[in-house]
């Protein structure tokens, strides 16, 4: 087969490659191209008209900004949590480590319901928040909290292996050369963690941007205020406004693709750096 670069005695390339490509095309590429065709049918001006509608602009803005805020919070929190879970030994560590994946394993609708229940003004946490004048449920704060919840495992799980792989000898060298702990962390350890941080941040952001289930219950979905883009897509569909829904979806898909490409380039870049460091 002309496609193959290096020969091997193993059989089954044609069969497995064929199945993979067919299945990928039917399940993923064909439906996605239906969206692109719909968008190109609308043309630039049509597309622009649907996504510059004030309600749509507000929802896209909220989705982006809330996802960005949540990813930034996750970056800092996730790094601290990953550091603690990798470097320190304490009772209950394994349980907490396993619990990190909870937002990933919990169906998003259930997460949304649970967060709404505890953050509502009469909820377990909402009561106390109300006392200090913070309202979380049915506000933008609530949206960000839900997105932090949903993105947390992505940051922690990306940072953990990177922290575990840190070269202890470099750290020792920095310490024996008189660097303080904070200095060592900032000047020696943090630069080595940058690729993992950027990847984790991007994953958390991408996940938060398209999130639906965990947000829809807590946000209250007030148009122009707490309505995120994915909720608006469903709203448009319910009014049979397929063009409007496709317009928002195209913008979101374009950003998602840009994210995916960034992550892939980053991982390749990090891989090259690692190989160079190893050589």
């Amino acid at each position: 087969m002309a496609l193959i670069r290096r020969r091997t005695v193993l059989p089954g390339f044609g069969l497995t490659f064929g199945i993979t490509l067919t299945y990928l095309s039917l399940i993923v590429l064909l439906p996605l191209s239906a969206l692109l065709v719909k968008a190109s049918d609308m043309g630039w001006s049509g597309l622009l008209a649907t996504v510059t509608e004030p309600r749509v602009v507000a929802s896209l803005e909220l989705s982006f900004l809330a996802a960005l805020a949540a990813a930034l919070i996750n970056l800092v929190l996730g790094l601290a949590l990953a550091w603690t879970l990798v470097r320190y030994r304490f009772p209950g560590r394994r349980l907490l480590d396993a619990a990190i994946d909870l937002p990933f394993a919990l169906p998003t609708a259930v997460s949304g319901l649970a967060l709404t229940a505890i953050l509502a003004p009469t909820g377990w946490i909402g009561t106390y928040l109300e006392e200090i004048g913070v309202r979380a449920a049915f506000t933008r704060t609530g949206v960000v909290i839900a997105l932090v919840f949903i993105g947390l495992p992505f940051m922690v799980r990306t940072a953990q292996p990177a922290i575990a792989d840190l070269d202890r000898e470099t750290e020792e060298a920095a310490a024996s050369l008189g660097a303080g702990r904070w200095q060592t962390f900032r000047r020696v350890l943090l630069p080595a963690l940058v690729p993992a941080c950027v990847t984790g941040f991007t994953l958390a952001f991408a996940r938060a941007l398209g999130e639906y289930g965990s947000v829809v219950f807590i946000s209250g979905n007030m148009p122009g205020k707490t309505e995120i883009a994915s909720v608006l897509i469903i709203g448009k569909l319910e009014q049979y406004d397929y063009a409007g829904a496709a317009g928002i979806a195209t913008v979101m898909l374009a950003v998602s693709l840009a994210m995916l490409i960034t992550i892939n380039l980053l991982q390749r870049w990090a891989g090259v750096r690692q190989r160079e460091a190893g050589a």
Binding site: L3, R5, T16, K38, A80
Partner: protein, 314 residues
Amino acid sequence: MSRGGAGRARRTRPGVRAPGEPRWVRLSLIGFTALFLGVVLLLPLASIFSEALAGGWRACAASFSDPAARSAIRLTVTVAAIAVPANLAFGVCAAWAIARFDFRGKSLLTALIDLPLAVSPVVSGLVYVLLFGLQGWLGPWLARHDVQIIFAVPGIVLATIFVTFPYVARELIPVMEEQGREQEEAARLLGAGGWQILWRVTLPRVKWALLHGVVLCNARAMGEFGAVSVVSGHVRGKTNTLPLHVEILYNEYNTAAAFAVASSLALLALVTLALKTWVERRQDRAREEAQRPADDDPGRTAGTGEELVYVHHA
């Protein structure tokens, strides 16, 4: 991995400042981690069970005897029973092609497999509506032949397959790439056929990664909400999965029943987590065992390497 070695080493060598945060930093980080994860992760989980059981066990159980709930359970199980095996078979095929052969466009193919992870769940549902819906590409043709995909079970199955598409493949590919193809090639040269190699050599070596992928795939398939919500049409007793049933109950202010049904999904998540942790532990052990013969080089073993550093310093 430190395995507590750094702490002990510090005490034995008071002259050298070994790396490690001051005690108060360590303790406050641990305290923060425990508090944060307790409040942010465990409290919501606890609230589901607490709300579900607020009206007592009997009320909670009654929520499941409702015909709509039963049909939702049946549909959820059916959808997972189709989506998971389909993606499992695909995952094995894709991993075999990608991890065992070098071909042009391999990295593009790998990236495309991950694509559904980057697509919003709602957009995942929408693309199927645009493809099979009445206003879509194939909609009019399907309607003429009396085939309904959108707002029916096939659409739910397809959307679920889409969102769980990469789960098995992305677990298998890195593991199989790491293992290399020498064992399969040896089996081939000894006269084994393709199926024989797959069943006797490949699958036993990747069984934990495979199980890991299946567990995650199943959890997502049963819990998917956004994508399924778009294509389902919410026909009670017909096209509602468990998560959709929860939403309907909640929107009807039937909070107790909503949380009761949600608690069954939360239980599923806990089982998933337990299974996942167990599989990961077995996976680590299997990997350590596989690497042991190669660990004659002392510089490469984490434990002894660290001790050597300290000896060297002393």
